[in-house]
Symmetry: C2
Subunit: 104 residues, 2 copies
Protein backbone atom coordinates (compact mmCIF):
# COMPACT_ATOMS: atom_id res chain seq x y z
CA UNK A 1 0.00 0.00 0.00
CA UNK A 2 1.26 3.48 -0.88
CA UNK A 3 -0.19 6.96 -0.67
CA UNK A 4 -0.68 9.39 -3.53
CA UNK A 5 -0.22 12.42 -1.31
CA UNK A 6 2.94 11.36 0.50
CA UNK A 7 6.48 12.36 -0.42
CA UNK A 8 5.51 15.66 -1.96
CA UNK A 9 8.60 17.89 -1.92
CA UNK A 10 8.36 21.39 -0.47
CA UNK A 11 10.22 22.80 -3.40
CA UNK A 12 9.54 21.88 -7.01
CA UNK A 13 12.01 23.55 -9.36
CA UNK A 14 10.82 21.16 -12.07
CA UNK A 15 7.67 19.11 -12.50
CA UNK A 16 7.99 15.62 -11.04
CA UNK A 17 6.77 12.57 -12.97
CA UNK A 18 6.60 9.28 -11.08
CA UNK A 19 5.29 5.89 -12.21
CA UNK A 20 3.01 4.38 -9.57
CA UNK A 21 2.24 1.24 -11.52
CA UNK A 22 3.13 -0.18 -14.90
CA UNK A 23 1.95 -3.19 -16.82
CA UNK A 24 1.72 -4.23 -20.46
CA UNK A 25 -1.30 -2.10 -21.30
CA UNK A 26 -1.24 0.46 -18.55
CA UNK A 27 0.90 3.05 -16.87
CA UNK A 28 -0.29 5.00 -13.84
CA UNK A 29 1.68 8.15 -13.18
CA UNK A 30 1.67 10.86 -10.55
CA UNK A 31 2.57 14.32 -11.79
CA UNK A 32 3.42 17.15 -9.39
CA UNK A 33 3.32 20.71 -10.70
CA UNK A 34 3.78 24.01 -8.92
CA UNK A 35 3.05 26.89 -11.22
CA UNK A 36 4.63 25.03 -14.11
CA UNK A 37 3.35 24.87 -17.61
CA UNK A 38 4.53 22.29 -20.05
CA UNK A 39 5.89 21.60 -22.49
CA UNK A 40 7.68 24.90 -22.77
CA UNK A 41 7.06 25.00 -26.45
CA UNK A 42 4.86 23.00 -28.74
CA UNK A 43 2.33 20.31 -27.86
CA UNK A 44 2.19 16.95 -26.21
CA UNK A 45 1.47 14.49 -29.00
CA UNK A 46 1.24 11.08 -27.33
CA UNK A 47 1.07 7.59 -28.75
CA UNK A 48 -0.94 6.39 -25.74
CA UNK A 49 -4.38 7.44 -24.58
CA UNK A 50 -4.46 9.34 -21.30
CA UNK A 51 -7.20 9.65 -18.70
CA UNK A 52 -6.16 12.33 -16.24
CA UNK A 53 -7.62 13.75 -13.03
CA UNK A 54 -6.54 16.62 -10.78
CA UNK A 55 -6.64 15.62 -7.11
CA UNK A 56 -5.03 18.65 -5.49
CA UNK A 57 -4.57 22.15 -6.84
CA UNK A 58 -5.60 23.32 -10.27
CA UNK A 59 -4.35 23.03 -13.83
CA UNK A 60 -5.40 24.39 -17.20
CA UNK A 61 -5.20 22.16 -20.28
CA UNK A 62 -5.46 23.54 -23.79
CA UNK A 63 -6.09 21.42 -26.84
CA UNK A 64 -4.83 22.31 -30.30
CA UNK A 65 -8.48 22.41 -31.32
CA UNK A 66 -8.88 25.48 -29.11
CA UNK A 67 -10.72 23.85 -26.22
CA UNK A 68 -9.49 24.97 -22.81
CA UNK A 69 -10.33 23.12 -19.59
CA UNK A 70 -9.60 24.38 -16.10
CA UNK A 71 -9.31 21.29 -13.92
CA UNK A 72 -9.88 21.68 -10.20
CA UNK A 73 -9.97 18.98 -7.53
CA UNK A 74 -11.81 15.95 -8.89
CA UNK A 75 -12.05 17.13 -12.50
CA UNK A 76 -11.01 14.61 -15.12
CA UNK A 77 -10.71 14.43 -18.89
CA UNK A 78 -9.84 11.72 -21.37
CA UNK A 79 -7.22 12.57 -23.98
CA UNK A 80 -7.12 10.16 -26.92
CA UNK A 81 -3.72 9.31 -28.40
CA UNK A 82 -2.64 11.91 -30.92
CA UNK A 83 -4.89 14.66 -29.54
CA UNK A 84 -2.40 17.49 -29.16
CA UNK A 85 -2.55 19.33 -25.87
CA UNK A 86 -0.51 21.26 -23.36
CA UNK A 87 -0.71 22.44 -19.78
CA UNK A 88 -1.09 26.19 -20.00
CA UNK A 89 -0.73 26.85 -16.29
CA UNK A 90 -0.96 25.31 -12.83
CA UNK A 91 -1.71 26.90 -9.48
CA UNK A 92 1.35 28.96 -8.41
CA UNK A 93 0.39 28.89 -4.72
CA UNK A 94 0.22 25.15 -4.02
CA UNK A 95 1.31 21.87 -5.51
CA UNK A 96 -1.01 20.40 -8.10
CA UNK A 97 -1.30 16.61 -7.95
CA UNK A 98 -2.34 14.91 -11.19
CA UNK A 99 -3.12 11.22 -11.52
CA UNK A 100 -2.66 10.12 -15.12
CA UNK A 101 -3.67 6.74 -16.54
CA UNK A 102 -1.90 5.99 -19.82
CA UNK A 103 -3.35 3.07 -21.75
CA UNK A 104 -3.21 1.39 -25.13
CA UNK B 1 -14.82 17.30 -18.37
CA UNK B 2 -16.53 15.67 -15.39
CA UNK B 3 -15.90 15.66 -11.66
CA UNK B 4 -15.25 12.64 -9.48
CA UNK B 5 -16.84 14.24 -6.44
CA UNK B 6 -20.03 15.50 -8.02
CA UNK B 7 -23.39 13.75 -7.98
CA UNK B 8 -22.80 11.97 -4.71
CA UNK B 9 -26.22 11.03 -3.27
CA UNK B 10 -27.04 11.99 0.30
CA UNK B 11 -28.41 8.55 0.95
CA UNK B 12 -26.71 5.34 -0.13
CA UNK B 13 -28.87 2.31 0.69
CA UNK B 14 -26.60 0.28 -1.60
CA UNK B 15 -23.10 0.83 -2.89
CA UNK B 16 -23.03 2.68 -6.21
CA UNK B 17 -20.78 1.51 -9.05
CA UNK B 18 -20.39 3.84 -12.02
CA UNK B 19 -18.19 3.51 -15.10
CA UNK B 20 -16.33 6.76 -15.77
CA UNK B 21 -14.49 5.49 -18.82
CA UNK B 22 -14.26 2.24 -20.72
CA UNK B 23 -12.08 1.06 -23.56
CA UNK B 24 -10.80 -2.24 -24.87
CA UNK B 25 -8.16 -2.77 -22.18
CA UNK B 26 -9.40 -0.49 -19.43
CA UNK B 27 -12.38 0.32 -17.27
CA UNK B 28 -12.33 3.21 -14.81
CA UNK B 29 -15.00 2.97 -12.16
CA UNK B 30 -16.17 5.16 -9.29
CA UNK B 31 -17.43 3.26 -6.28
CA UNK B 32 -19.39 4.99 -3.51
CA UNK B 33 -19.71 3.22 -0.16
CA UNK B 34 -21.24 4.38 3.09
CA UNK B 35 -20.61 1.89 5.84
CA UNK B 36 -21.04 -0.97 3.39
CA UNK B 37 -18.98 -4.07 3.19
CA UNK B 38 -19.00 -6.25 0.15
CA UNK B 39 -19.58 -8.78 -1.08
CA UNK B 40 -21.93 -9.89 1.65
CA UNK B 41 -20.52 -13.36 1.54
CA UNK B 42 -17.48 -14.84 -0.08
CA UNK B 43 -14.70 -13.09 -1.97
CA UNK B 44 -14.25 -10.98 -5.04
CA UNK B 45 -12.42 -13.18 -7.51
CA UNK B 46 -11.87 -11.06 -10.60
CA UNK B 47 -10.69 -11.87 -14.09
CA UNK B 48 -9.23 -8.36 -14.46
CA UNK B 49 -6.44 -6.69 -12.53
CA UNK B 50 -7.53 -3.78 -10.37
CA UNK B 51 -5.59 -0.74 -9.18
CA UNK B 52 -7.69 1.03 -6.59
CA UNK B 53 -7.35 4.23 -4.57
CA UNK B 54 -9.49 5.77 -1.82
CA UNK B 55 -10.03 9.48 -2.41
CA UNK B 56 -12.58 10.28 0.30
CA UNK B 57 -13.41 8.36 3.44
CA UNK B 58 -11.87 5.09 4.48
CA UNK B 59 -12.17 1.43 3.56
CA UNK B 60 -10.67 -1.83 4.81
CA UNK B 61 -9.67 -4.50 2.30
CA UNK B 62 -8.89 -8.03 3.36
CA UNK B 63 -7.15 -10.57 1.17
CA UNK B 64 -7.72 -14.29 1.37
CA UNK B 65 -4.04 -14.55 2.24
CA UNK B 66 -4.81 -12.78 5.52
CA UNK B 67 -3.41 -9.37 4.65
CA UNK B 68 -5.60 -6.48 5.77
CA UNK B 69 -5.15 -2.91 4.50
CA UNK B 70 -6.93 0.12 5.88
CA UNK B 71 -7.07 2.62 3.03
CA UNK B 72 -7.48 6.29 3.90
CA UNK B 73 -7.45 9.27 1.58
CA UNK B 74 -4.78 8.78 -1.06
CA UNK B 75 -3.93 5.17 -0.23
CA UNK B 76 -3.80 2.77 -3.15
CA UNK B 77 -3.17 -0.91 -3.76
CA UNK B 78 -2.87 -3.10 -6.82
CA UNK B 79 -4.93 -6.29 -6.85
CA UNK B 80 -3.84 -8.79 -9.51
CA UNK B 81 -6.56 -10.80 -11.26
CA UNK B 82 -7.53 -13.84 -9.23
CA UNK B 83 -6.27 -12.45 -5.92
CA UNK B 84 -9.31 -12.98 -3.73
CA UNK B 85 -10.31 -10.02 -1.60
CA UNK B 86 -13.22 -8.31 0.04
CA UNK B 87 -14.13 -4.99 1.58
CA UNK B 88 -14.47 -5.67 5.28
CA UNK B 89 -15.82 -2.24 6.20
CA UNK B 90 -16.09 1.36 5.09
CA UNK B 91 -16.50 4.54 7.12
CA UNK B 92 -20.06 4.64 8.50
CA UNK B 93 -20.00 8.43 9.01
CA UNK B 94 -19.25 9.66 5.51
CA UNK B 95 -19.26 8.49 1.94
CA UNK B 96 -16.14 6.68 0.80
CA UNK B 97 -15.12 7.43 -2.79
CA UNK B 98 -13.04 4.77 -4.50
CA UNK B 99 -11.44 5.13 -7.91
CA UNK B 100 -10.83 1.71 -9.44
CA UNK B 101 -8.83 1.04 -12.61
CA UNK B 102 -9.61 -2.40 -14.05
CA UNK B 103 -7.18 -3.52 -16.72
CA UNK B 104 -6.19 -6.57 -18.73
Amino acid sequence: MSNLFSNIPNSLPEEVFEDLHTSENLRIERILSHGHSSPNEGWYDQTENEWVIVLKGQGVIEFESGEVFTLSEGDFVNIPAGKKHKVVSTNPDKVTVWLAIFYK
